[in-house]
Symmetry: C2
Subunit: 480 residues, 2 copies
Amino acid sequence: MDAKQVGQDAGGSDSQSGWRQALGYLALIAVTVGGFLVIRHLGHDLTSPSLSPEAEGFGVAPSKAKVDVLMHVLLALVVIILTARVLGALFALAKQPAVIGEVLAGILLGPSLLGRIWPDASALLLPPTVAPFLSILSQVGVLLYMFMVGLELDLGLMRSRTHATVAISHASIVLPFLLGSALALVLYPRLATSDVPFTVFALFSGVSMSVTAFPVLARILTDRAMNRSRLGTIALTCAAVDDVTAWCLLAFVVSVAKTKVGGAVATTVLSICYIGFVFVVLRPVVRRLIARYDRAPSPPRGLVAGIFVALLASALVTEWIGIHAIFGAFLLGVIVPHEANVARELVRKLDDIVVILLLPAFFAYTGMRTQIGLVSGATEWLLCGVIIAVASVGKFGGSAVAARISGMSWRESAALGILMNTRGLMELIVLNIGLDMKVISPALFAMLVIMAVVTTFATTPVLHMVLHRRTVPIDAPSVA
Amino acid sequence: MDAKQVGQDAGGSDSQSGWRQALGYLALIAVTVGGFLVIRHLGHDLTSPSLSPEAEGFGVAPSKAKVDVLMHVLLALVVIILTARVLGALFALAKQPAVIGEVLAGILLGPSLLGRIWPDASALLLPPTVAPFLSILSQVGVLLYMFMVGLELDLGLMRSRTHATVAISHASIVLPFLLGSALALVLYPRLATSDVPFTVFALFSGVSMSVTAFPVLARILTDRAMNRSRLGTIALTCAAVDDVTAWCLLAFVVSVAKTKVGGAVATTVLSICYIGFVFVVLRPVVRRLIARYDRAPSPPRGLVAGIFVALLASALVTEWIGIHAIFGAFLLGVIVPHEANVARELVRKLDDIVVILLLPAFFAYTGMRTQIGLVSGATEWLLCGVIIAVASVGKFGGSAVAARISGMSWRESAALGILMNTRGLMELIVLNIGLDMKVISPALFAMLVIMAVVTTFATTPVLHMVLHRRTVPIDAPSVA
């Protein structure tokens, strides 16, 4: 069929000999088909060998199941990407970060909405057998994403902090962490899983309140042309410090949760050794390599491959140590100088593929696991409200009060507090880890997902209200 | 730990207040830890709820298994990427396409070598449970790769063909296809699987001999600065026609193999309808969208997302129809005009990630399935030799004789024949499909993999021998 079409194409460009070519082509097809039919006739009586079971045993992945998996994964990706893009665009129109729409798309396609109103469609779209595959794609996506977050993190920002940013970043970690831990006193008897110790649960609860979505924050600030203003710089600096601290805390929680009592010491020691190795040994090596090979406008493929291998290896090491793979990916991103050519090029290359193709898998996977239906009844919605309130008071309150004490105006302090209360995607990553480790129950997972969406959602409108036609000097010189 | 480090960083930049800050920081840590210990004490007597089984049932992917999978997938990727890069670099030093080294890396890490000399390492590196996950990553990689191959394919080349290229491209498909089908008469009684009909086996055997690795060919020609020469242009044009035809044939084989007798008609009709839809309806739409939105130096994210969704959807449709998902991805690549900004940008973005990160998963997966050990004994190695000979005679002979008849010199004709005999990665994709569909046995799979490696490997040195200090007019005007 195609051969004919190709033949016609050829004829079209050279019309005088078109017919001759077409005829020649038909003759050729006739010869081919005829030849094949002769061969087929000759082979008609042949029988295939009955192979021994071990030669027949294809070892890996039976054919039927795998094809289905590919089809389901493709279907899930197409639907989730489309839904995520549409909802993301709608939220972007409403001046909201697109990420909220994308997260909501995952939740809507999961058991919370689609599974409830149209179970057949949900079962076709995201059958449980596909979940592990969606999970591995989404984990690769999240690893690459965290690497990019690390890449974009400016360690220089942390070094050039003023007294104000020191105070604010401390307060914006300590207060939500302690409040979150205290909240565990309420949540633990109601929503912990049956075999998690209180200490682990309280630590996790604290960490889950302390996360700030550095990338979403950066996007909001860039969208409003605030990223170079004093407020923007302070917010970014504090968010960077918060994120690093929160991820270290999370790594600690994971190690404690995984290794029970005895192994925690070993895990902690190994983690410190590895972090030390990365900063003391690996960082100078990476810097030297980049300084040597990063002159060309497009970095050599060997360098890019080296960074990818290092990224995967770092993730592997932290996963093996017992703190999560994400931590290693993030760490490696941090030590690559973010102003290097190769860093910019990597972000540029990874950005679309990770954000468009792989993160939607993460949203779909998170959505599959979020069962809003588990949050039923007045008590549970009340608890959900309490969680949102505690998270917001801790993060917003801690940052805003510290900012005011440091001498910022109330208006600026409030704006900063609201910015720091953005949780976005980072919170979801933390929550999935908690659910994986069975530290939190699915019901608590659903509540915390709601909390993440609500606090992220609230940022932009509240910020707009507070700043109110930007009376803050946006073009004031940066503090950096 | 990290908090302390951050504190010291801050102190370093502002040394006079360094000690005060450090002390303040220690106090803060003390308060935090103290606060947490109080909370922990308060929560000491709390018990977690015994949740109902359905609330405890985490639905998707049990934690323990999944973490292991991530670790194994990361380990497999790190090892395979490193091995592939090293072997690829060695082969590149020997003026060979790097892809041969990468394919060999997969084979060496599989049961053929590592599994034989060090079974424990092989079991740790690539346990059978990880295979499905590696498979899905590699399939996504291959989809994206085939999309890129389609993107880089210049349909204009096919239209601007001369009589020479028409004759050569026909001969270089028909001869290897018929020879391959005839070879099935020998192979079927010995190496087919027990339930495959002869027709399907013979068709597949013919297709597997007809594939030319368009991308590897393009790379070889570019490396030798021959891609603009007359010989290079003819080779690229013929390879493009061959590839399109071979993939159409493969789609036909897959549909016949999958649907047995009755459904084949439906599959064929659906395939033709879909191909018609893509070229008649989708192609003008894509062209118009690109013409409208592709003016900016970096294409808008919406356009990129749209193309990704279309790519996945096209793969989904062809998978659903019953011809392979790869075909849809390739088809979509073909209709995106390859000179558009967005096409170049997509290739640039996808290239590193697909080639460095995802294709190694494909090499590892292919290597896992390649059991060279199944090719044992003189008869089987003889058969393997026969396969290589038939494949080479068909492809090399068909192209070279047709080129000579069209008026090219013997030297040029031979060079062209050798170039067309390059099979590379494309052949492996075809073979994996055959193994998935259980058309070929693992032993025949191993033989055909050897054939692909040998014919690709032979291209460069033989080409060098034939061209011998390039007496061919490399700077002759292009035929295009």
